[in-house]
């Protein structure tokens, strides 16, 4: 699972990675590499179309936030990125989604394998009703990335440490994960995702079920994870997007209305609809 830059895809970034006013980037504004990208993505649930011509790039080792009013397709798009939509009957999809330039919807792609590259954290914490240890050790053992007991012990410890949960649970690894507090459960789910050593982590409103303090902890965690992982996060909390995300996409009615680096999008939106949304005038 190397995260080396594949030059072929790096060039795909240019259309989106320009300044808001269209001026070319300065030397300091380093050209980021594209990790995942969607091209002309359309999606239907049965006969109703939920996504229209989505073009979006998620940059390597950056946080990309997806914002927009309820029902605009943020979760649907997120699920396209690790093919969780495959599990919903009657979903039809058109267009391309790539990971490091590889089409993830290609026939030869193994979905199960794909999801070990692209982890996911859900809105409601959903730890397995097993011990904390098992929650984390389960997938590595399954995928054969951790086999011996000591390997797994190390993996559990390092994952929990990275998720900032180690100090709180180190002495009770065999208690059920479901007995933790909501915020702890969510960090356990993040630790569980990290343990598979993914390259991308998708998060669908990961803090919406948490209190402000737990939210702050999770946000700090996201900030840290950014150094090693590409993160795509759906959020309803605009401040949160502003705090954690380098890039933000505004979705509306199944379309990407605007995509830019977060500062520009929030301070100097190009589109009227974006401005209306972030100033709270609709939604």
């Amino acid at each position: 699972m190397e995260t080396e830059v594949k030059t072929k895809t790096a060039t795909g970034a240019h259309t989106m990675a320009q300044n808001a006013d269209g001026s070319p980037m300065t030397a300091e504004q380093k050209q980021p590499t594209v990790k995942m990208s969607a091209r002309d993505l359309n999606l239907w649930y049965g006969d109703t179309q939920a996504l229209y011509d989505i073009n979006l790039d998620c940059y390597s080792r950056e946080v990309t936030a997806l914002i927009g009013p309820s029902g605009c397709g943020k979760s649907t798009f997120l699920r396209c990125l690790n093919r969780m939509n495959d599990l919903i009957p009657q979903v039809r999809l058109q267009g391309d989604v790539t990971l490091d330039g590889e089409d993830i919807y290609d026939h030869s792609v193994d979905v199960v394998q794909l999801r070990t590259f692209i982890g996911m954290v859900f809105q409601k914490p959903n730890p397995f009703p097993k011990s904390i240890y098992e929650n984390i050790a389960y997938a590595p053992r399954l995928h054969g990335t951790g086999t011996s007991r000591s390997e797994l012990d190390d993996l559990v410890e390092s994952s929990l440490k990275r998720a900032g949960l180690w100090n709180e649970v180190a002495d009770r690894l065999d208690t059920p994960g479901t007995e933790l507090s909501g915020g702890q459960q969510q960090r356990l789910c993040i630790a569980r995702a990290i343990a598979v050593n993914p390259e991308v982590i998708l998060m669908d409103e990961p803090a919406s079920a948490l209190d402000p303090l737990a939210t702050a902890t999770v946000e700090a965690l996201i900030h840290e994870l950014k150094d090693n992982y590409t993160i795509v996060i759906v959020t309803h909390n605009l401040q949160q997007a502003a705090r954690v995300a380098g890039y933000t996409a505004f979705f509306h009615m199944g379309k990407v209305v605007e995509f830019n680096d977060t500062d520009t999008l929030f301070t100097n939106p190009k589109e009227q609809r974006t401005e209306d949304y972030i100033t709270g005038r609709f939604g």
Partner: protein, 389 residues
């Protein structure tokens, strides 16, 4: 100040409403009371009729292994005792002597079961001719008649002599039958449910299958008996009256129950668990094996136990496949002729002799006790492992 809240107590319409409410409540309480009274009456009746079967009357006699007893066992007894002692108790004496020649010429004191009418006389169920009554009262005075726990009821098979009849062969038959039912219906039922719930696409065909399975659960059990007769005995030539045929027949009947309860148990596992597992890169089978099944197992077992309990009480389909035969010896395998507990009860219930009344009731007590235990186990499993999400 005008009082608006208290004045209405005398309003006839409100009074009528309260009356109606009281009446309705009285109806519901009465209904509950009637239902409860019926259950109590049933249990009281069965237990009062049946408890005596757990005791039996024995008489202490001298057994004389003389020459005539080598041919007819009854001659081992003193003449006045021959009517008192159960015929079954001395039946084996000639054989005993043949197997053990040293016995010849010796005598021995022994407690043996009495003739069933004397047993019934002491239990207050039957009258005896006056001379006989006088004789046994005398024996009672002399201390050679006693009442002991009737172990034979649990260790003996069926018998034409009520004082010797027991449930052992029927219990063994029931165990064999349930074993076959379980082996047949559990894997097929659980697998089918897993396929329908976790793998099958939601299309016309699976919907059709689903409707049919639900209908199957409502088919009268005797139909399954006819099916078992036609398929297992006539087509596949399985031995008639055997536990194999009975178990397979009941398995057909239990299958829909297991499928339906397994599906309910699988459906109770919340989707976020599945999604979480899928997102970790689990294949569908890994999701089912590692996450869904462990969580739904208690529910599956509960449904299975309830299905088995229902199968255990079933009689009609087993009569059709011939499991109502007179089976004094417990079957040695699932291929031998066997009977089951409810069929044994049915046989005893159709006996005209008075002494079988208590056997019937005692059989019912045992059957009920087993069924209650099974259902209690199911409830316990459900309570113990029930999860709230």
């Amino acid at each position: 100040m005008q009082r608006r809240l208290t004045g209405s107590a005398n309003d006839p319409r409100i009074k009528a409403r309260y009356r109606g409410e009281k009446r309705f409540k009285a109806y519901t309480v009465t209904a509950l009371f009637v239902a409860f009274a019926i259950i109590i009456a049933f249990f009281t009746d069965i237990i009062s009729q049946g408890y005596t079967a757990f005791w039996r009357t024995e008489v202490n006699v001298t057994i004389d292994y003389n020459e005539r007893a080598e041919r007819i066992g009854r001659f081992a007894l003193a003449e006045d005792m021959r009517e008192i002692v159960s015929r079954g108790a001395v039946r084996s004496i000639p054989l005993d002597i043949r197997n053990n020649p040293e016995l010849a010429g010796t005598t021995r004191q022994e407690w043996v079961p009495t003739y069933s009418r004397i047993d019934q006389y002491f239990k207050g169920n039957e009258e005896l001719p006056p001379e006989m009554a006088a004789q046994v009262e005398e024996l009672m005075e002399a201390g050679v008649i006693r009442t002991t726990f009737n172990w034979a009821f649990f260790t003996a098979g069926d018998s034409k002599l009520p004082e010797l009849a027991g449930i052992f062969s029927a219990v063994v038959g029931s165990i064999f039958v349930l074993f076959v039912t379980l082996i047949f219906a559990f894997p097929i039922g659980v697998m089918s449910a897993i396929y329908l719930e976790e793998f099958a696409p939601d299309n016309k065909l699976t919907q059709l299958i689903e409707v049919n399975i639900n209908n199957l659960a409502a088919v009268p059990s005797i139909i399954f008996g006819l099916l078992g007769l036609a398929v297992f005995i006539n087509t596949f030539g399985a031995p008639r009256s055997s536990a194999l045929v009975g178990g397979l027949t009941l398995g057909l009947m239990t299958l829909p129950i297991i499928i339906i309860s397994t599906r309910a148990a699988l459906r109770a596992v919340p989707d976020p668990i599945r999604l979480g597992a899928f997102a970790m890169g689990c294949s569908r089978w890994q999701v089912v094996r590692d996450h869904v099944l462990p969580l739904s197992l208690p529910g599956i077992l509960t449904g299975t136990i309830i299905g088995l309990a229902q199968a255990m009480g079933e009689t009609a389909p087993l009569i059709i496949v011939g499991m109502i035969a007179y089976i004094p010896e417990a079957p040695g395998s699932i291929f031998e002729s066997a009977t089951v507990l409810p069929a044994q009860i049915f046989t005893w219930a159709s006996e005209p002799r008075k002494a079988f009344v208590e056997k019937t009731a005692a059989g019912i007590i045992v059957l009920l006790a087993v069924l209650l235990t099974l259902n209690a186990a199911a409830v316990f499993l459900r309570r113990k492992f029930e999860r709230r999400w």
